[in-house]
Amino acid sequence: MGKVKRSPWLLHYDGSSCNGCDIEVLATLTPVYDAERLGVENTGDPMQADILLITGGINEQNAPVVKQLYDQMPRPKVVVAVGICACTGGIFKDCYNIRGGVDTTIPVDIYVPGCAARPQSIIDGIIKARDLFQKRSDEHDEYEKTHHGGAGEEKING
């Protein structure tokens, strides 16, 4: 119901990337681009995050980690794949241990292409993600109303 899109908190996860996109993600938080003016906070805690920002492809080792981070985030949530590796696997696509893009493991909502993705396009991705976050939140409220007591309080299994 409320305007949740004014406060999108990010969780940044670095998959098997070359670190180029990670540096650009950090650049979006520096004084020049200052993503905090949009209410963005870079949190390291999946429990408090709204938007999962993933850079780099998914390999066999980090797939369970990404899946767990996604599961630990409370609804409503949005996933943004930043950089071409996170979108499709990019230059590492044919490596023996690479599964491909993030969407091979968890559902991705926004794709931000680029090698490395520029801060401007990352901010554009965040703005698209926060609009989607608002939409999901409204749907979530609707669901809460119709399924009373079903989705609000939930325990993590295991």
């Binding site: 949740v4 406060s7 905090e36 003016r37 209410g39 949190t43 408090q48």
Partner: protein, 292 residues
């Protein structure tokens, strides 16, 4: 005790206005911090947007009792502030404040998360660190006014800071710990992406984090109220002076926060106890010589 309308107004004013004042102060904090770092910064109302969002999210709790502990923390904190602004015993306020902090430690340690556990342990160290200065503040007021009643302390002829400058300094020093600012943000790192992952609040999400945040606002207003108690006297104009001093102290905290990195807890303990002993302790000795 006879019924007092002025007290009631103060208490209701605190209950209703404290979250707004606390939230606004945090909004200004984030804006001023951003400007100090040459950034644009979030809107002033950002803390309210954050809390509103947190109430709209799904609550995942590893232990459901965490919410009960946080509610206890909140109720006791509000109780502390209401007692203070109602003009009751200052010493009692500080005791209830410590009890509230204990419930926060329970809420953090109930989840078994390592980050949360580290946060809870450091919170205990912080309590040990700031408690002497807090108690000294109450002792100082008692020595010069002969009472712990906030009501009567505030109605004295002159400002307490004139004879209690050392106590004032010690209290402002521990304010950095209580407000969770660098260099003393041991229990919960001031920024969420640091190695502690916010420590004490790591396992608090959605509704629980919102309750915690609002309680912090209540606490900050209470603590700044104690700062104001050093200034106010019988003269109504002194209340304006108190507000100016409170804002200056708050700005000083923001400046310190932005200009320093987190120290280790050993350093925090040594520095704080040293400062408490040197300022409040020396002030206390002088008072005991003068006010015999």
């Amino acid at each position: 005790m006879k019924f007092d309308t002025a007290r009631l107004i103060w208490i209701i004013g605190y209950l209703v206005l404290a979250p707004f004042i606390g939230g606004l102060l945090e909004g200004f904090d984030r804006k001023i911090s951003a400007r100090m770092q040459r950034r644009v910064g979030p809107p002033i109302l950002q803390p309210f947007y954050d809390v509103q969002k947190l109430f709209n999210k799904q609550t995942i709790a590893v232990r459901k009792t965490q919410f009960s502990f946080l509610i206890a923390y909140m109720v006791l904190m509000i109780f502390t502030g209401a007692m203070f602004f109602g003009g009751v015993d200052l010493l009692m306020c500080f005791f209830v404040l410590s009890t509230a902090a204990t419930f926060l430690i329970f809420a953090a340690s109930v989840t078994n998360s390592p980050y949360s556990a580290i946060g809870a342990q450091r919170e205990m160290i912080q309590m040990m660190t700031y408690e002497p200065a807090v108690l000294m503040t109450a002792v100082g007021f008692y020595l010069i006014r002969g009472t712990f009643d906030v009501d009567r302390i505030a109605r004295a002829g002159s400002s307490a800071i004139v004879v209690l400058p050392g106590f004032f300094f010690a209290f402002v020093f521990i304010l950095t710990i209580k407000m969770r600012k660098s260099p003393f943000d041991e229990a919960g790192s001031h920024h969420p992406h640091q190695e502690l992952v916010k420590g004490i609040t790591t396992e608090m999400g959605a509704k629980n984090l919102a309750v915690y945040t609002i309680t912090e606002w209540y606490e900050n207003v209470f603590l700044l109220g104690v700062v104001g108690l050093f200034i106010v006297n019988r003269n109504p104009l002194s209340y304006i002076g108190a507000i100016v001093v409170i804002l200056l102290v708050y700005f000083l905290e923001i400046l310190i926060d932005n200009a320093s990195a987190r120290v280790r807890w050993q350093t925090m303990l040594k520095m704080t106890w040293g400062v408490t002993l040197l300022t409040a302790g020396v002030n206390l000795m002088m008072l005991m010589l003068i006010y015999r």
